[in-house]
Each structure stands twice: as C-alpha cells, then as structure tokens.
C-alpha cells in the first residue's frame, strides 16, 4: 500500500497531560508524527490538535482507532486531499551583507513572504502556505544565508 502523509485533526479535553497521551500512543505503537500543532479553540475546555503522520492507509486506520480509545480524545477526523484547507508557517532569519537586503526582500515578497523584522545584520521573513510549496520557498531562500528557520506544524480546517 502507498505510504504518504495523512493529516488528522483531534479534538481533545484541554488537560495538562493530553499531549503526552497522544504522543505516547504514537511512540508506543510504532507510529510516527511528521509534525504536530496544538492550541485552544473557541471552547476553552477543548484543544484542537493537528497531526501529520506518514504511513499506508491500513496504518492510518490503526492510528485513528488507537487515538479514539483515549478517554480524553473527543474526536478524530482525517482530512482528505481537496476537501480541506491546510497551511504551514515558516519563519526564516536571513543574514544580510549590507548590499543584498533589498534583493532578498524582493525575492521573498515575490514568493508570497513578508518581512516582519529587519536589522543591519538580518531579516526575519514569514511565509505561510501549503506543505507542498514549502520546499520550493526553502530552496528559493537557500540561495541566501539562512541562519535559522522555524516551521510550525500543519493547521487544517
């Protein structure tokens, strides 16, 4: 069966150890988490967690069943391609040499990024987009000196 990324959204009780329970379910059963994001919802008693996992269809079915067994997990839904919107955010800190700040800014903005901070030494650039286009942006900005980079997990709706 085809191995690919699958995006799951979990609605869980907002309890201190709920992330540990979910992470433990993945590690204890030999599943893996590609990326994860979590935050509260409009209802402060529940948290929404988005997890991207890699595996074949049978594995994802097993993961969903195991997650649903957790007492603090209220629901698990799988995002099908095309029927949901998914985004990831990346922050880049790019070194400038005093002459290329303008060029970097133009390249970044053309690629849909925005510059959110600048000093004489570096620029901090924000990008938001789909997981598929993230690689393209990283490759594009790699022609400059990326000092540091932070990627959020996927959020999906």
């Amino acid at each position: 069966m085809e191995v690919r990324n699958h995006t799951l959204t979990l609605i869980v009780n907002n309890k201190p150890d709920v992330l540990a329970r979910i992470a433990g379910t993945f590690s204890g059963r030999g599943f893996n988490i590609e990326n994860i994001s979590a935050n509260i919802t409009l209802d402060p008693t529940v948290t929404k967690i988005t997890i991207v996992t890699r595996g074949d269809t049978a594995t994802v079915i097993k993961i969903k069943k195991q997650l649903k067994k957790l007492v603090d997990v209220i629901s698990v839904t799988q995002h099908e391609n095309g029927s949901s919107q998914q985004r990831e955010m990346i922050l880049f800190r790019i070194e400038t040499d005093g002459t290329n700040a303008r060029e970097i800014t133009e390249t970044a903005e053309k690629a849909g990024c925005s510059v959110i901070s600048r000093t004489s030494e570096d620029l901090v650039i924000e990008w938001t987009g789909t997981a598929e286009s993230a690689d393209h942006v990283i490759t594009l900005l790699s022609t400059y000196s990326i000092r540091d980079m932070s990627r959020s997990g996927i959020v999906a709706l």
């Binding site: 150890d17 204890g28 049978a58 079915i61 097993k62 069943k65 649903k68 067994k69 957790l70 007492v71």
Partner: protein
C-alpha cells in the same frame, strides 16, 4: 457536610460498592489509612505492593467486580506497575489508588515522589492526578466507570497528600454519564444477520472464544449458540472456561501449545467465528497460514483489536453478549434445525480428538507434573478456582484441568507475569472464602512473590499452592533444550531453591512434600483437608516438556507432539 478528602474517598468507595481493598500503607496515604481504621471496608495487607495489585486483579477476575488496590507514593506506586500492566494486557477492571506527595512538592524530586501517572500512562486504560479536593469524588467515580465499561482495564488515581487532608463541602458524585465510554452500544443487526447466514451455511465451522466472553459474561450465550448449531469450540488461554471443558464440542486450547485437534480444526475449517479475541501471536502462529481456508469473522468490543494483526473478512464491533444473544435469536427464528448437524465435520473433529489426544508418558519412578494436575482436577471435582504462574505450570494447567465455568482460571496471558498466581489466588480467596483456590506454580515463579505467604496466613485465606518442582525455570529450559543445544544457561535453580516445606512452616503455613507418584493423591487430599494455607512441593520429572508445541514462526498445523519427535528433526 464538610469532610476531609480522605473521608470523601472512603464514602465514594462505599458508594461504588467496594468491600475489599488490597494495599500497603505509607507516608503519603496515612490519612486514608487512618480513615480505614474505623471503616467497614476490609483491608487486606499484602507484603509487597506488586502482591496487592495482583490480588486485586485475582479478586476482579474471579468475581467480575472491580478490584481495588491502595498504595503509597513513590516506590509503593512503582511496585504496582507490573500488576497494572498484567491487568491491562488481560483487560481486567481495577482501580489503583496511589498516594502522592503534596501538590506544592510535585516536580521537586520530593521524598518518595514518582510521576506515577506518567509511568503508567501506557499500561492503564486511563489515569488521573487529582489536584483539587473538589474533584475527588467525581474522579473516583469516573475511574470505576472507565475501569468496568467497554473493554475493561485498570485505572489509576493519584492522590496528593494535601488533597486528601483538605476539607471541603461534600456532595456525593453522580454516576458518571456514558461520556467516557466510547464503545458502540448497538451492533449492526443487518450485518450480524448476514453473518449468521454464513455461519449457518458453513460446512466446517469453528468458534474461537477469547477472554472477552468471560469479561462480557457471555458464556451461557456461547454455550447455547455452539450447541444449538453443533459448532466445535476452541479458545485462547484467556478464554478457558468460556465454554464447558467437558463438552464433546470442546476442542481445548489453540495456539503454540494448543491441542492437536484445536490447531487442526482451525487450520482446516471453512469458517472461523472469533469472539472476544485479539489474535495474540501465541494463538495464531505464522499469521499468513492462520485459518487460511476459512472465512473469518471477528466480534470484539474494541474496534482497535479488529484488523490489528490479523485481517478478518467480517469485522463486527460490539459486546459479545449482545452479539451472541442476537445470533441465538436468529438461530431460534430459523426453521429447519436438523440439516445443520454437519456429521462429516464433527466426525473429522472427533477423529482428530481421539487419534491424537493430549498425552504424556506415565509416571515411572518420578512424578509427572501433568499427573499432579489431573489428580488436582479429580480430587477437586473440577470445581476449584485455579490460578497459575507463567511457563510450563501454566500450560499444563490449561491442558489438564478442565474448566466447565468461567472465572475459574486466572492466569497472566498477555504479559506473562511470573509471580502472578499466588497473590491472584489470595485475591480470589478473599472474594470466595469458601471455595477451594489453588495456585499451580513452578519452583521459579513461586519465589517471585513468596512473601505473600504472610498475607495468606495473617488473613486466614487458605490458598493451596501446588509447586511443580522440577529444579528449573522449566519453560526457558525447554527452549534451551530445543533451540540452544541443551545449554541450560542460568535456568538450573534446583540446588539453590529453599526447602519449600520448611519455608511454609516458617511463615506459619503448612508444608507438604511428595517425592513419589503414589504420594501425589494423599498429599493433595491432606492439603484440601487443611483449613489453612498449604504449600505442596511436588518433586517432578526434571526435564518434562510441554507438548504439543508449535515452533516460533511455524504454522499452528505444524506441531511437535512429543519430545521423541525432537531427535528425528
């Protein structure tokens, strides 16, 4: 009414109908123990917290009620972990109450602090750390609810010392709504009817019963269904007693040490109906050839158990009692009953059964361990509660004691915990003071929780221990014999084992020894007539093996039937 947390705890336990707690006191639970001092709840003091946990497990498995265990923080809590993991693997309803350091000290590496909710997260159905006394009553009720509903399991409640000391207005907590139980309650009736048609039409059907039948209290329904449709029944180790062991349709246990006829029937059947099983590797053998000629049906309350390791043709999520009741209804509605007797298939099964029964070479000058169990069966008239340790003693007990009723065979199936049987027997005896409770043990296993002799003696729990003393860690020795060139690396413990008779006497129990075959029966008679805990030390054939045996990785139809076959291989 204003009450302290510890008073609220006891009131809530009484509300849950708790009459017995297995435990061990310590600093963090002093206030709870002070409440127990003038409570009607019976407290059975173990001599090690692992013993308390296994005893609560044995109490639960034999009675069907939730077992309760109470221990202190830190080492008290960590000592229960093997007991909790044992219960988790075998789906036993238990509530474990652990003391914890005061909330303001949590995370500071305080004296006797352990993150027990963190430690037990992978081996509990759920666990709680109660941070506010206002949450205590509701949390405890939720713990019991979670432990006994759906697929049962152990639930741990961690109780910081300040929480049980704090006074609050006590309002009894309501019975928790079914919010925590996400098992589907309704079975797809249409799907089950279709399944019934398939079962009814099958020419060579077999039923595989698991521990779910016993936990789900569905043995009677299974008996009705199987006998109604003349379907042979086998079971997993956990399913022993789910179907009467003396019934002609009974095939014995399936799997690595399954009977020849059970393994053959499952390998040759055209339909396998599994109920309350999770397809342990010890049951299936090589998965690709398991029941390969059959259409397979799995009924289980735990959706995650379906298609986990074995892909079935028809998965049905639901509790086995409801499912069997529906199947029985469909059977009642069917008109012609005679056409389904399947004489050819039953003849074939009977031929396997009579052709290659369980066997062992008879007693020579030394006692055969199998003969000890056969004699126990005969003298207790099959009516004892049997617990086992793990290894050869466990397999021989499953082969030679025939269980006609559920909740009579208590054994650590999933985790395979040596040291389980004796404390579990104490728990079962606490639940059934008037029944005969026997732990079938090995000389290795019994030493893992031997300290519980003091528990049995001090609480007048007249558990009988039958040690099949072969001087070896027998099952490991058997594997070394077969797969490691008879290099008995660190399994020869005979020289250094204690004198079990004198050990029993040192604890204030009775010790008996049988060296010769003719001493087996009088020894057992004497033990059964002794109204106190007894150790029976049976000095048995040292290198006896458990057969049939399916070698690791093999199909269950490829069995080695006795040790003589080994030399030919």
């Amino acid at each position: 009414m204003e009450l302290r947390g510890c008073e609220i705890l006891i009131k809530t336990l009484l509300q849950e109908g708790v009459d017995t707690i297995f435990g061990y006191p310590g600093g963090a639970v002093l206030d709870i123990y002070d409440e127990l001092y003038h409570s009607d709840i019976r407290h059975i003091l173990a001599r090690h917290e692992q013993g308390a946990a296994h005893a609560a497990d044995g109490y639960a498995r034999s009675s069907g009620k939730v077992g309760v265990c109470l221990v202190t923080s830190g080492p008290g809590a960590t000592n229960t972990v093997t007991g909790i993991a044992t219960a988790y693997m075998d789906s036993v309803p238990m509530v474990i109450l652990t003391g914890q350091v005061p909330t303001r000290f949590i995370g500071t590496d305080a004296f006797q602090e352990a993150d027990i909710t963190g430690i037990t997260r992978p081996c509990t159905k759920h666990n709680f750390l109660v941070r506010r006394v206002e949450d205590l009553a509701r949390t405890v009720r939720e713990a019991f609810h979670i432990a006994r509903t759906g697929r049962p399991g152990p639930v741990l409640v961690d109780l910081p010392k300040d929480v049980v000391q704090t006074v609050t207005e006590y309002v009894p907590a309501a019975d928790p709504a079914d919010a925590a139980d996400r098992s589907p309650v309704t079975i797809d009736e249409g799907q089950l009817r279709h399944t019934f048609e398939l079962i009814d039409k099958a020419e060579r059907p077999v039923i595989l019963a698991g521990g779910g039948i016993i936990m789900g209290k569905a043995s009677d329904d299974l008996y009705r269904f199987a006998s109604r449709l003349s379907i042979p029944v086998t079971s997993t180790l956990m399913g022993m007693g789910a179907f009467p062991g003396t019934n002609p349709l009974w095939l014995g246990m399936l799997g690595m040490h399954g009977t020849y006829y059970a393994n053959m029937a499952v390998s040759e059947c055209d339909l396998l109906l599994t109920i309350g099983v999770r397809f342990s590797d010890r049951v299936t053998g090589k998965i690709a050839s398991f029941a390969s000629k059959a259409k397979t049906i799995q009924i289980d309350i735990d959706a995650a158990s379906i298609n986990k390791v074995f892909s079935v043709d028809i998965p049905i999520v639901g509790d086995c009692k409801s499912a069997l009741q529906l199947l029985n209804r469909f059977a009642d509605e069917r008109k012609d009953t005679d056409s389904r007797k399947r004489p050819q298939w039953l003849d074939q099964v009977m031929e396997w059964k009579s052709g290659k029964p369980l066997k062992y070479s008879p007693n020579g000058g030394t006692i055969k361990p199998q003969n000890v169990i056969e004699t126990l069966y005969k003298l207790t008239e099959g009516d004892a509660i049997i617990t086992t340790e793990v290894g050869q003693n466990q397999m021989w007990a499953a082969h030679y004691y025939h269980f006609d009723k559920p909740n009579r065979f208590l054994t650590s199936g999933g985790l395979g915990t040596m040291g389980y049987g004796f404390p579990a027997a104490i728990g079962a005896q606490a639940a059934f003071p008037d029944k005969t409770v026997i732990d079938i043990a090995g000389d290795g296993s019994i030493q893992m929780n031997i300290q519980e002799l003091a528990t049995a003696v001090s609480h007048n729990l007249p558990v009988k221990i039958a040690i099949l003393n072969n001087g070896y860690l027998g099952m490991v020795r058997q594997w070394q014999e077969i797969f490691y060139g008879k290099r008995y690396s660190h399994t020869d413990i005979g020289e250094t084992s204690p004198d079990f008779v004198r050990l029993a006497e040192a604890y204030g129990a009775t010790g008996l020894r049988a060296m010769k075959p003719e001493e087996v029966e009088p020894t057992i008679r004497k033990a059964l007539d002794t109204p106190r805990p007894v150790i029976m030390d049976f000095v048995v054939e040292a290198e006896e093996g458990v057969y049939p045996m399916v070698f690791p990785g093999g199909s269950i139809s490829q069995m080695t039937l006795d040790s003589k076959e080994l030399t030919n291989k």
